[in-house]
């Protein structure tokens, strides 16, 4: 059996079986793994080998060895997360992570260290119940598959030999350096070129291995799974939006296939018995945060292994770029030499020219002068075992923001490490050294080395630091109050949701982490099989993917395609008729399913356009919303009316079943009055509540297609209109006034018009501050931020700011709220409110917003009167017996945490 890798990029040739995605996808499988790096690939392959059907989702694309062309300008954009532009929020540390099939294992330097014994003991004390024997077995297992072997003497390049020589001659505090040796790496025979039995030593590891000798996940575990006998599918270019869950069961994964610009092309819904998050540190925390998983520890405790560098300049050519970049390490000052807290490794490394140019902290002529000596440098990095002091938070745009400041102890380790390394280069004959501190980029003599340490301590911002090992954010522990997952990597509070990657590390590892991540994945896969949740039933959710039963989620082109191959159900024609009432009557022509947030509205058939994001369709969706309503005339025809929501047009029509060549039996909807009688619709009833339609201009059967659309009498609350929202808002049956406690948390809001529910427009935070004062903070489109005063009384949850408008909320569910931002609409004479009244208001201790509201009224600062239906906007007017006449916006709020 041969499985397939899917993606949205069209390529002429790929090493593995590859197909291009051309439609939305729904998959029901045993296991869904998110992320294809060191953990995800192993989990996917091992669970697949255990007989489970597996879907593997990867944000990046599939690029095989032959497409890795060793050019930084091409490959960093394609293989690195965010095209390499990945930083802490303060821009002080650049974080390198892979974003491609195989993840960071495709772009790393293939260095393999086992988890140090010291770290095993420390983690055991922190509640990680994995014994040394378990670690050893798992390390053996994965090392065997990825061919871990020691770098040979012949494979050491000149750059590594310089570090070895320096370790041999330098004395630190009068003592020789003892612990230093060659690394182990995962290289081996290439499956695409039988002539290559091991590393070619080209030096381009960071840009993917063109020769397929680096035994990354792409050419080992993923390759194995693709060519296995079990149902395995890898979907690339897939950005997971969220994990859905209910009552401690993770039910599914919603994702989008995105192009290189980040635009959604298609969607995917994966329903699975077991869901595993292995998106890597930072991305895994971000996904859990986006998925509204209530664990306050998510995102906490991030470590980065921050790594400054020091280069020695030598008279002779070193050609550091030639050969294996990372093959030698000085362990003397690190956890591998039993340093319990902090510490650092000095690792040989070299960079292709663009990356080195980014690292050298100078500019202009100086930078050019230093770069001209590229072939004469020996380079090594100081990889510090830092404290997990970082945090990951979610931005307004749902992206992860990394908050991290170098701790004092970490700076001390950096200062010590860089000083030692500078000394080492001088000891073996360097005529000057280059540092990664902008204040002191060059050191000409040994006597100047103390200036480097001082510069680091005095101006840490001047350091140019990189990180390739983000760890933490979802740490393992035994206490749910302090950790995110248990030792099985299962999320606290969930039966079938796992997180397995470097994000679960409770502290920094102190060595390059890929082998430890792989070993953890191998252990976790075994545990998942042993504790298989047989009683979990795979959900049948379609999520928000296109399907004939929910065409409002489809692209316009797909609507046309579905129309072509879907048969009209003639027997349903008699059920075309809508309610006789002209208004919503709850429980008669309008119902609401609170559990599924589904609206059943038989007042009319609500029209929907495709979900495309082009200007034309977006415009139609925003401003061209419509409904059609039918009344029965006789046994074979209905009279109809089509009403655009925002335009005073009522186009009469006649609906009859007919046979049309090429279409079979359809409903012909002919408009009757000029000028609309030049148009007609062809409709197919798919089920009692769903219609697919085509609008034509011209003679029936020969007309020009105008557009495809769908209509429904049953739709999700994400497609509600103003009438639906108002019905929910004023209905005690469906909503209630929330208490302050019920609203605590973060909510995302979308504006509601008849035509469309907008994308996220605002975020509201309700919380108690330290002194138990209740606060509400708003953020509109990341542009307008501020605080509002909340008052809950007389069954009204209300908040005010400095405008004459105020907000009112009604809660539908603990995670779903409807709201209105309104102001009085009746034009009261200014004389009804006097300065004296204002004074009384001030004296009575009224709130600031009440006073400002009064000022508005005194000076008659009102917007001009508008008609009831304003059109082409979200602004609406309501006339309510209790509230009076009001104007404003309507919105829905969904809980974010």
């Amino acid at each position: 059996m041969q499985n397939t890798i899917f993606g949205i990029e069209e390529f002429e040739k790929r090493a593995e079986p590859y197909k291009v995605i051309r439609n939305d996808i729904v998959r029901n499988v045993d296991v869904c793994v998110i992320g294809s790096g060191a953990a995800g690939a192993i989990l996917a392959q091992k669970l697949s080998a255990a007989g489970k059907s597996v879907v593997l989702l990867e944000r990046g694309g599939y690029y095989d060895g032959e497409s890795m062309n060793q050019r930084e300008s091409d490959m960093i954009s394609l293989l690195w997360k965010n095209s390499g532009a990945n930083f802490t929020s303060n821009l002080k540390i650049a974080i390198a992570q892979g974003s491609c099939l195989g993840g960071s294992t495709v772009i790393n330097d293939a260095v393999c260290f086992r988890i140090p014994d010291t770290v095993i003991r420390q983690w055991n004390a922190l509640g990680v119940h994995i014994s040394k024997e378990e670690w050893d077995d798992a390390n053996d297992e994965v090392s065997d598959r990825i061919n871990v072997a020691k770098v040979t003497e012949e494979e050491l390049n000149e750059n590594a030999k310089k570090l070895r020589e320096a370790c041999s001659v330098t004395l630190v505090d009068g003592n020789p350096i003892i612990a230093h040796h060659t690394n182990e790496r995962n290289c081996g025979p290439s499956w695409t070129d039988p002539e290559l039995q091991s590393c070619v030593q080209c030096g381009f590891c960071h840009l993917g291995c063109h020769y397929d000798t680096k035994q990354s996940m792409l050419v080992t575990y993923i390759h194995d799974a693709v060519h296995s006998d079990v149902d395995f599918t890898a979907y690339c270019n897939c950005e997971v939006k969220k994990i859905t869950h209910s009552n401690g069961i993770a039910t599914g994964v919603e994702g989008s296939f995105v192009d290189n610009a980040g635009n959604e092309k298609y969607r995917i819904q994966v329903n699975a018995k077991v869901i595993i998050v292995s998106a890597g540190a930072i991305a895994s925390s971000n996904l859990l945060q986006k998925s509204r998983i209530a664990n306050k520890n998510i995102g906490e405790g991030l470590a980065l292994h921050p790594a400054p560098f020091v280069m020695g300049h030598f008279q002779e050519k070193v050609y550091g770029n030639r050969g294996i970049p990372m093959s030698y390490t000085c362990h003397e000052f690190g956890v591998t030499n039993n340093v319990k807290t902090g510490g650092f490794l000095i690792e040989s490394i070299f960079l292709p020219i663009f990356q080195l140019a980014l690292a050298v902290p100078s500019f202009g002529v100086d930078h050019a002068r230093l770069m001209a000596e590229y072939n004469n440098y020996a380079l090594a990095g100081i990889m510090v075992r830092d404290e997990p002091v970082g945090r990951i938070i979610k931005t307004f745009g749902d992206n992860p923001q990394v908050l991290y400041e170098l701790a004092r102890d970490t700076l001390d380790d950096m200062a010590r490490g860089m000083s030692i390394l500078a000394r080492m280069w001088f000891d073996i004959g360097a005529d000057y050294v280059i540092t990664s501190h902008g204040d002191i980029p060059e050191i000409r003599t040994v006597q100047d080395i103390p200036k480097l340490a001082k510069a680091i301590q005095n101006n840490p911002d001047g350091l140019r630091v990189g990180s390739a090992h983000p760890q933490g954010g979802n740490k393992i522990g035994e206490d749910p109050a302090k950790a995110v997952v248990n030792s099985d990597c299962r999320m606290f509070g969930f039966k079938n949701l796992y997180v397995c990657d470097a994000s679960v590390f409770p502290t920094a590892l102190g060595v390059n982490p890929q082998l430890t991540v792989m070993a953890l994945a191998a252990l976790t896969a075994n545990k998942i099989v042993a504790n298989w949740p047989s009683d979990v039933i795979i959900s049948d959710s379609l999520g928000s993917v296109c399907d004939v039963s929910q065409p409002q989620y489809c692209l316009t082109a797909t609507l046309g395609e579905m129309f072509a191959v879907t048969k009209h159900k003639e027997e349903l024609f008699g059920k075309l008729e809508n309610s006789q009432s002209n208004e919503i009557v709850p429980d008669e022509n309008w119902r609401f399913d609170k559990d599924k947030l589904m609206i059943h509205n038989n007042l009319y058939w609500k029209g929907f356009y495709g979900r495309d994001t082009n200007i034309m369709t977006t415009g139609l969706r925003m401003f061209g919303g419509f409904f059609k309503r039918f009344r029965k005339l006789n046994s074979d025809s209905f009279s109809g009316v089509t009403k655009p929501f925002d335009v005073p047009v009522f186009a009469k029509s006649l609906a009859k079943q007919k046979t049309l060549a090429g279409y079979g039996t359809i409903i012909h909807l002919q408009y009757e009055d000029a000028p609309y009688n030049q148009a007609y619709d062809v409709l197919k009833m798919i089920d009692e509540n769903t219609i697919l339609g085509k609008a034509f201009l011209g003679q029936f059967g020969r007309g020009q297609l105008l557009f495809d659309f769908s209509m429904s009498r049953k739709y999700h609350a994400d497609f509600m209109g103003e009438d639906d929202l108002t019905t929910l808002f004023y209905s005690d049956q469906y909503s209630h006034t929330p208490t302050k406690d019920e609203m605590v948390g973060r909510w995302e809001g979308s504006l509601v018009s008849d035509s469309i529910v907008s994308p996220r427009s605002q975020v509201f935070d309700f919380e108690y501050s330290g002194n138990e004062e209740y606060q509400m903070q708003y953020n509109f489109a990341n542009l307008l931020r501020g605080y509002s005063e909340v008052s809950v009384n007389n069954d009204l949850f209300r908040f005010d700011d400095y405008t004459p408008f105020h907000d009112e909320l009604r809660m539908i569910r603990d995670d779903f709220v409807v709201g209105k931002w309104v102001t009085d609409w009746s034009l009261l004479p200014a004389s009804q409110f006097s300065i004296q009244e204002l004074q009384n208001l001030v004296n009575s201790g009224a709130s600031q917003s009440q006073i400002i509201n009064s000022i508005y009224r005194i000076f008659n600062l009102r917007v001009p009167r508008l008609p009831q239906e304003i059109g082409l906007s979200f602004l609406n007017v309501e006339n309510n017996p209790q509230k009076g006449s009001r104007i404003g916006l309507s919105y829905i709020l969904k809980r974010m945490n």
Binding site: E9, E12, C202, N321, A357, Y374
Partner: protein, 194 residues
């Protein structure tokens, strides 16, 4: 001149593809004006062997009195309605008779793979990346540092992704062609021959 005789046509064919497919028969109209479209004359699902048959008469395709023979072509869709193939045009020999027309359709195997390379979209990725980091960094927290980083990145990009500059410095550069899969190439490193 009106016609008393209605010509009928039977279009038969076989699609050489294992799956069940939907076949649409269309008349190719001259697209002189924007408001003209191809006439859909009929449709059918293929049977288990890939055979299909669609019949029609000339009233379906004659948009005008001067329109003569139909110019027939087929659109093949998969079970989701996705168009996977369009045939060439066939015209019946005589428009005034009942006539059988046969299509023998082979769907090209490589229909999903265009002649693209992955690097064309690298610039788009970079631009999108810079747009995205605007949401995750506090550029104004340390403006001198941020500006310096931006300038250094631009400087490095403009100079050190440039092959001329590599040659001046003596940087070995990539060891394979830019589009390696398009050329037979060696996996030997150039510097081993120096």
């Amino acid at each position: 001149m009106s016609k008393l005789f209605v010509a009928t046509y039977a279009v038969k064919g076989k699609v050489q593809d294992g799956s069940k497919l939907y076949v649409e028969l269309l008349d190719n109209d001259q697209h002189w004006f924007d408001d003209r479209i191809d006439d859909l004359l009929g449709s059918a699902w293929t049977d288990n062997s890939g055979f299909f048959e669609i019949s029609f008469d000339d009233s379906l395709y004659k948009d005008n009195w001067f329109e003569g023979k139909p110019e027939l072509f087929l659109v093949i869709r998969d079970n989701l309605g996705k168009i996977i193939h369009k045939t060439g045009i066939q015209s019946p020999s005589s428009p005034d008779d009942t006539e059988n027309i046969t299509f023998d359709i082979a769907i090209p195997d490589n229909r999903s793979l265009a002649d693209n390379n992955p690097y064309d979209s690298a610039n788009t990725s970079r631009i999108a990346a810079f747009a995205r980091i605007g949401d995750t960094i506090n550029f104004t927290e340390n403006i001198p540092n941020s500006t310096r980083l931006l300038m250094q990145t631009l400087n490095a990009w403009l100079l050190y992704t440039n092959e001329t500059k590599w040659n001046l410095i003596g940087y070995d550069g990539p060891q394979v062609e830019r589009y390696p899969w398009r050329h037979t190439h060696s996996h030997k490193l150039k510097w081993n021959n120096l």
